[in-house]
């Protein structure tokens, strides 16, 4: 298929007229195509996609080979021991070719294929038309392999040596599949130890680089081994998983208060952190590499620390952390918890597990699980009777609280009930205010009436009598009795002139 084909198909489909032929599979098999499959029908698309992917992988391999050959030649010319070198290299080459032909499925296939290291194309064509059931897994495994080789390329000779050892180890592990998981774990641990040691003594790789390389090796081998060594049938890991799952389910009534968890989920930020922490711890199961699983635990722990810090306004100590982690595990009930812990313990690079921050949080998770298994009435500050009653499911401590909703309801529903509660409280207050207002109004009216009545009474009691003044105010000269005796005022006289 080509990119331009995809484009033209898209533009045509956007138009009003769609030719019948445009709808059909581009390969002309007669089935309808789909733009999501770039115009192919599902079957043809799968084939095309597979071919393209194989081609890409092959190209990468050829590049890797070429680079390594150049490297090898350069090395051989500098060293006089040419014969021995080329011998080991041809072995290396062969293994790599085998690796290429090994198409996800099983290592068994890989070995049978090794006998016919013929034309690569032949092998690829033979395989292309059979889409694998584990395509998802195969894509990831291929991707990891490619990354691993890319990574090793940067280390030249040492990288090659490491690749050789890793392949040998994986081959060996195939034959050890019937051994107990403890023995297989032992092999993996020995391998980690030997590779790291060789790198330091022979390769003279500085320690911080060794660590980086070890991480990549772990990723590569564990992506491949995961299927066979995670929760293997020969162990009772699965039984333990179910047991702890059942136990956690039986303990769902445990409240944060009983565990003395210093986290207040009423603060939205804190409840966010709690949700994130639960998501992280559940996500652990989806990872294949032990180190990635550890990273999930560390992420979860960081969210827990944040939740405690927001609640308490001070950084959390171990006294706060462990109870909260227990609470998160109880609330999250992470899938295949025991299997994951066992897998990490058995197959993680030991230096990462015993020390370092990841190791610390992992140990705390182990403590939390051990605590949950042993948890009793005393550890929750409950009486034995109460504990037994809660465990049997007869009563739930939450029912005693005023919460009318289910304790398992989702956050949204809980929030809704809380809001409804608040609304009814507000309604109540509103009504109270209304009645108070009415009362106030009545009081005011009564008061006015009362005052009016009192005034009336007083007015009646002391009627208002306005007596006419005894003397007119104007008679200011009234006391002047001699008035009449005064000479008359001067009269104007008119003189005729």
């Amino acid at each position: 298929f080509s990119f331009s084909g995809k484009m033209s198909l898209k533009s045509e489909r956007r138009g009003i007229h769609v030719d019948q032929s445009d709808l059909l599979c581009k390969k002309g098999c007669g089935y309808y195509g789909n733009p999501a499959w770039q115009g192919f029908c599902s079957k043809c698309w799968r084939e095309e996609y597979h071919k393209a992917r194989q081609k890409q992988i092959q190209e990468d391999w050829e590049l890797a080979e070429r680079l390594q050959r150049e490297e090898e030649e350069a090395f051989a010319s500098s060293q006089s021991s040419q014969g021995a070198q080329s011998l080991t290299f041809s072995k290396f080459e062969e293994k790599k070719t085998n690796e290429k032909t090994r198409k996800v499925t099983t290592v068994k296939k890989f070995f049978s294929a090794s006998s016919r290291v013929g034309s690569k194309k032949e092998i690829q064509e033979a395989k292309a038309p059979s889409p694998s059931i584990n395509r998802q897994t195969s894509i990831e495994t291929d991707r990891v392999s490619k990354e691993f080789i890319e990574f090793l390329k940067t280390f030249h000779k040492t990288g090659q040596e490491i690749y050789k050892q890793t392949k040998l180890f994986l081959e060996g592990m195939h034959y050890k599949r019937d051994l107990s998981i403890e023995e297989q774990s032992e092999c993996a641990q020995d391998f980690y130890h030997n590779v790291a040691e060789r790198m330091q003594t022979r390769g003279k790789v500085p320690p911080e680089r060794v660590e980086k390389i070890m991480d990549q090796i772990e990723k590569y081998i564990m992506t491949r081994l995961y299927k066979h060594v995670f929760c293997p049938e020969t162990t009772d890991d699965e039984k333990k998983d179910l047991a702890i799952q059942k136990r956690i389910r039986a303990l769902r009534w445990v409240t944060p208060q009983m565990l003395c968890v210093p986290v207040n989920e009423d603060i939205p930020e804190v409840s966010d952190m709690v949700v994130k922490a639960i998501t992280d711890i559940i996500e652990m199961d989806s990872k294949r590499v032990p180190r990635d699983k550890l990273a999930c635990i560390t992420k979860c722990s960081k969210h827990i620390f944040n939740a405690i810090k927001i609640t308490k306004n001070e950084p959390a100590s171990a006294d706060d952390f462990l109870p909260t982690l227990i609470y998160i595990v109880l609330k999250g009930n992470p899938p295949r918890l025991q299997s994951n812990i066992q897998y990490i313990t058995r197959f993680c690079n030991p230096s990462r597990l015993m020390t370092g921050e990841d190791g610390y949080y992992f140990t705390n998770l182990c403590c939390a699980v051990a605590f949950i298994e042993k948890l009793d009435a005393q550890s929750l500050n409950l009486s034995q009777e109460d504990f037994d009653r809660y465990m049997s499911g007869q009563t739930s401590p939450r029912k005693q609280e005023a919460e009318s909703w289910s304790p398992d309801a989702c956050l949204g529903v809980k929030q809704m009930y809380k809001n409804l509660d608040l609304l009814s409280q507000l309604n109540e207050r509103q009504e109270r205010i209304m009645s108070e207002a009415k009362k106030l109004e009545k009081d005011l009216i009564d008061w006015t009436d009362g005052i009016a009545r009192e005034v009336q009474d007083i007015v009646e009691k002391y009627p208002l009598e306005i007596k006419p003044p005894n003397q007119p105010l104007a008679a200011i000269d009234s006391e002047n009795i001699e008035n009449d005796k005064l000479p008359p005022p001067l009269q104007p006289q008119v003189y005729a002139g």
């Binding site: 130890h193 006294d319 030991p350 230096s351 015993m354 370092g356 182990c366 403590c367």
Partner: protein, 212 residues
């Protein structure tokens, strides 16, 4: 180099200081976290944890060499006592912390020591007894003499501190670091084969004891 990878005793590379794991043990509220926080905080070189105070690392200089201390805080509440043995795995040193104003915390520290001895081989871990809260000496219930005598009888290091007043805190960690280096050097001089055998026992046992 052989034992370096399989045990927490880190590889002896000159560019990287050797790392040692130190666990803080003791009852609740005796000041384990405060002690560690005080120690780590008062040094500009250490990286302060942004959110939690439960796991610290600190590079300590002892003479010409330096080592990396990894400090693991543990939950001290009584109810977690039964699971705390998981913290001991791979520990190089342990601080048994008690509160000098609480006799029960001193007795508890003795209990911790028994637990430690159950989980680890004698001599595998360096233990120091620490009486904290000397700032509250008027309420003292455990005398210096009592602490010292117990420590001597069990061949532990001993010190009294005040995390609050920052008294003797540095000294505690420094003397542990010094002792660790001395022991480590002593081991290094021992015949290689013997050391490898002894050390190889560790991880195998550790791998299994997680399978609870």
């Amino acid at each position: 180099m052989a034992q370096a990878h399989r045990t927490p005793q880190p590889r002896a590379a000159p560019s990287q200081p050797r790392a040692f794991k130190l666990v803080l043990l003791g009852s609740g509220s005796v000041g384990k976290s405060s002690l560690a926080l005080r120690y780590v905080k008062n040094d500009f070189k250490s990286i302060l944890p942004t959110v939690g105070c439960a796991f610290f690392t600190k590079v300590v200089d002892v003479g010409a060499t330096s080592l990396k201390l990894e400090i693991w805080d543990t939950a001290g509440q009584e109810k977690y006592h039964s699971v705390c043995h998981l913290y001991f795995r791979g520990a190089n040193a342990a601080l048994l912390v008690y509160d000098i104003t609480r006799k029960d915390s001193f007795l508890k520290a003795q209990q911790w020591l028994k637990d430690l001895e159950k989980e680890l081989h004698p001599g595998e871990v360096l233990v120091m007894l620490v009486g904290n809260k000397t700032d509250l000496s008027e309420e003292r219930e455990v005398t210096f003499q009592e602490g010292k005598e117990f420590a001597d009888s069990q061949r532990l290091l001993f010190m009294e501190t005040s995390a609050k007043l920052n008294q003797q805190v540095r000294e505690v960690f420094n003397s542990v670091a010094q002792e660790l280096l001395q022991r480590d050097d002593g081991e290094g001089q021992a015949p290689r084969g013997d050391a490898a055998v002894a050390l190889n026992e560790g991880p195998a046992r550790q791998a299994k004891c997680c399978a609870h």
